[in-house]
């Protein structure tokens, strides 16, 4: 017989023993031994157990040759149900001392009636409470047993299945249970060992296992902490991703193969003003303003096409319409259309700005066109006027020719001095008028026609200047014109046109000069590329006239004011330049530069 069995056969008064066990057979054997010893000693016995255990204990007692029914009938053995007895003193989740004392005290007194010695009791109400997940009540009940032990003399055996304490957190409660008992008997794996040596080995093994388990627990706790941290990190990442998706600048949604919206982010619903229920679960076409557009979009997506910036109009809850660009493709799984991945970009403001820009561009274009039309109209008018002047000038030549011929004819007749003088004036006037008509026609050719055509031939500027001097001096014998030339004055120019230029410049110089000094013509032909002609007199061009000297129609009633304009155009047609400088001290100088070819 083991020490534990010997001890349980003869427990002392007020012993409060706890037996841990691993299997039911061991418990039945232990309790059977404990009760059988009590019956043999004539002690009152109380068993408070579950129906299954009561049956097992009864069987064990009968196997030992005890007539259980007779013992019960004699009142020595009381068999009580654990749950029913608990119900008599539990208040809420906890045992109540007064009720416990009354209920258990009554049972003890009843068992004791007419018998000597201690009461021997076995109880598993604490085990029931423990199994029910109420360890606090179990420990409190153990304390109540200790308290009632001070009132009634009895020895009590409790039993706990080791399966109650397999969790690491049960350590503290296990300790409490040990504390509340006067004797602790280990479970059968230890109790059954006979020799001290075997028990020492078992203790050593248990110590090693305990340490290994503690280490394992620590390792697992660290692992659990790491997992928990990783899980937290993942939750945070998921929350960030969710925030990103929900609040993205783009509206996002999924549409299934039937066109039903399966998911949409917050941005998209806010853009259109719908709640989740008003949007998700509905057909996407309900929100498109143009039915043919969504039909086309779904057709393309079903054909596995990817859409980029596909323009559409979506209907908002408030009845307004938003212009959007849709980019989308389909998420396929095992060849099955799962849902679209649709990005919606609101371009309403951009569209409005574009429309406004287009409108203002159209207005601008219209006003430009109007302005252009007006300008063309004005140009046509100017052109018409210039052409009219040209035609008029041309047509004036015939009557002018007739007048000139008539005047010359009169001059030839011997018709008296008065007729002669008059005829001279007519001739002079027709010459002036002829020059004016020539200028008008030149002007028309420059402005309306192809410009001044040149008939280039090899000529010398010095010769031309000599001819001009002769003409001027013939007309104005009182005026002197001085020509100087250095270098070669030869070049390929239009002689008639350059004669026109020189006659104009020298004629002006004579007309506007003082007459005290000669008009000078200096030809500088020393350069290889150019010949420069400088015409100078002592007259002064008024400063306000100087900047506009070459502009047409600056003339007075007597002159058209085209002479210098045409002169400049002839020089430009030759690829040359003409400049003027005029001061009171230096007089007036025209400088003409002509490329030799």
């Amino acid at each position: 017989m083991s020490n534990a069995a010997a001890f349980l056969g003869q427990p002392a008064h007020e012993n409060h023993i706890v037996q841990f066990y691993e299997n039911e057979d061991f418990l039945s054997d232990t309790v059977g031994h404990f009760i059988a010893a009590g019956i043999a000693a004539g002690e009152p016995i109380i068993i408070i157990a579950t129906p299954e255990h009561r049956a097992q204990f009864t069987q064990r007692l009968q196997e030992r040759g005890i007539d259980v029914d007779a013992v019960r009938a004699s009142g020595q053995l009381s068999l009580l149900d654990a749950r029913e007895t608990l119900a008599t003193f539990m208040v809420g989740d906890m045992p109540d001392w007064s009720r416990f004392k009354a209920a258990i005290g009554a049972v003890i007194e009843k068992g004791r009636q007419g018998r000597e010695g201690r009461v021997r009791a076995y109880g598993e109400m604490v085990d029931v409470l423990w199994r029910d997940g109420n360890p606090k009540a179990a420990i409190a009940l153990e304390e109540l047993w200790n308290d009632i032990g001070k009132i009634h003399s009895f020895s009590l055996l409790c039993a706990y299945v080791m399966g109650n304490f397999y969790k690491e957190a049960d350590g503290e409660h296990f300790h409490e249970i040990c504390r509340t008992h006067t004797h602790v008997i280990p479970a059968e794996s230890f109790t059954r060992l006979e020799s001290t040596e075997d028990r020492s080995r078992e203790v050593s093994l248990l110590q090693q296992r305990a340490r290994a388990l503690e280490n394992e627990i620590e390792r697992r706790q660290a692992l659990e902490q790491a997992l928990r941290t990783a899980l937290d990190e993942r939750r945070r990442a998921e929350a960030e991703l969710r925030d990103f998706v929900e609040n993205a600048v783009y509206g996002l949604h999924w549409v299934d193969r039937d066109g039903i919206i399966r998911w949409a982010n917050k941005s998209e619903m806010e853009l259109l003003g719908y709640s989740r229920d008003e949007y998700i679960g509905h057909h996407i076409s309900e929100f498109h303003a143009d039915p043919e557009v969504i039909v086309d979009i779904l057709k393309r997506l079903t054909s596995d096409e990817t859409l980029h910036d596909y323009e559409a109009r979506l209907r908002c809850k408030d009845g307004s319409t938003r212009h959007v660009q849709i980019s989308s493709n389909v998420y396929w799984r095992d060849g099955e259309f799962v849902h679209t991945r649709c990005f919606t970009r609101d371009i309403t403001e951009q569209k409005r700005a574009d429309d406004a820009r287009r409108q203002s561009e159209a207005l601008l274009a219209e006003s430009l066109a109007r302005e252009q039309q007006a300008r063309q109209e004005a140009e046509r008018t100017v052109r018409f006027n210039e052409m009219f002047a040209g035609i008029l000038g041309h047509d004036l030549r015939n009557p002018l020719g007739a007048i000139s011929t008539g005047a010359h004819y009169l001059l030839r007749m011997s018709a008296g001095e008065k007729v002669h003088k008059t005829a001279l004036r007519i001739v002079s006037s027709t010459e002036r008028m002829t020059r004016m008509v020539d200028q008008l026609l030149d002007f028309t050719r420059i402005r309306v026609g192809d410009g001044i055509a040149l008939r280039r031939e090899r000529i010398g500027l010095a010769d031309l200047c000599g001819r001009v001097r002769e003409e001027i001096e013939a007309g104005h014998p009182e005026r002197a014109v001085k020509v100087d030339c250095v270098g070669s004055s030869a070049g390929e120019w239009d002689s008639d046109r350059l004669l026109q230029v020189l006659s104009n410049l020298v004629g002006n110089a004579v007309h506007h000069g003082s007459g005290d000094r000669p008009v000078t013509i200096d030809i500088d032909g020393r350069g290889d590329g150019d010949v420069v002609v400088v015409v100078h007199n002592d007259g002064v061009v008024p400063p306000d006239v100087l900047p506009v000297l070459f502009e047409p129609f600056r003339g007075t009633a007597k002159h058209l004011g085209l002479g210098l304009y045409i002169t400049q155009q002839i020089v430009l047609a030759h690829g040359g330049t003409i400049e003027v400088a005029s001061t009171a001290q230096e007089g007036t100088t025209f400088r003409v530069r002509l490329p030799r070819r």
Binding site: P399, S404, T405, H408, Y409, T434
Partner: protein
């Protein structure tokens, strides 16, 4: 038969035509006149003048067409032609030279210049 050369003066502007005709007669020429191109061609064929003074801008048949027809007709193709024109055009001047005209005078032309040109042409 006069030994004064016969000049056919073709000009549609009557005043100019008649004054010029008078001046030329006074300068020693026989003068016949025509007021349009068709008449000019007919009179040239009829009269065989020593020289024709021809305006370019004429009614019915213009000066250019008249020159072409005069040059085609064997009777008239050798008659010297002096062209008078209101256009100061180098192209016209060049074209007239190419068609064999002996002179190109721009209107209004001093009558003395015209007379000098006629004499120069007849002496050549």
């Amino acid at each position: 038969v006069s030994n004064r050369p016969l000049v056919l003066l073709v000009e549609d502007f009557e005043d100019a035509r008649e004054l010029a005709a008078e001046y030329l007669r006074d300068s020693g020429f026989e003068v016949a006149t025509a007021g349009d191109g068709a008449e000019a061609i007919a009179r040239a064929a009829e009269l065989a003048p020593a020289l024709i003074i021809l305006d370019l801008v004429l009614p019915i048949v213009d000066g250019w067409e008249a020159i072409r027809r005069l040059r085609e007709d064997s009777q008239t193709r050798l008659i010297p032609i002096i062209v008078t024109s209101g256009n100061k055009s180098d192209d016209d001047r060049r074209r007239c030279a190419e068609l064999g005209c002996v002179g190109y005078l721009q209107k209004p032309c001093p009558p003395a210049t015209l007379v000098a040109k006629i004499r120069e042409a007849l002496h050549d």
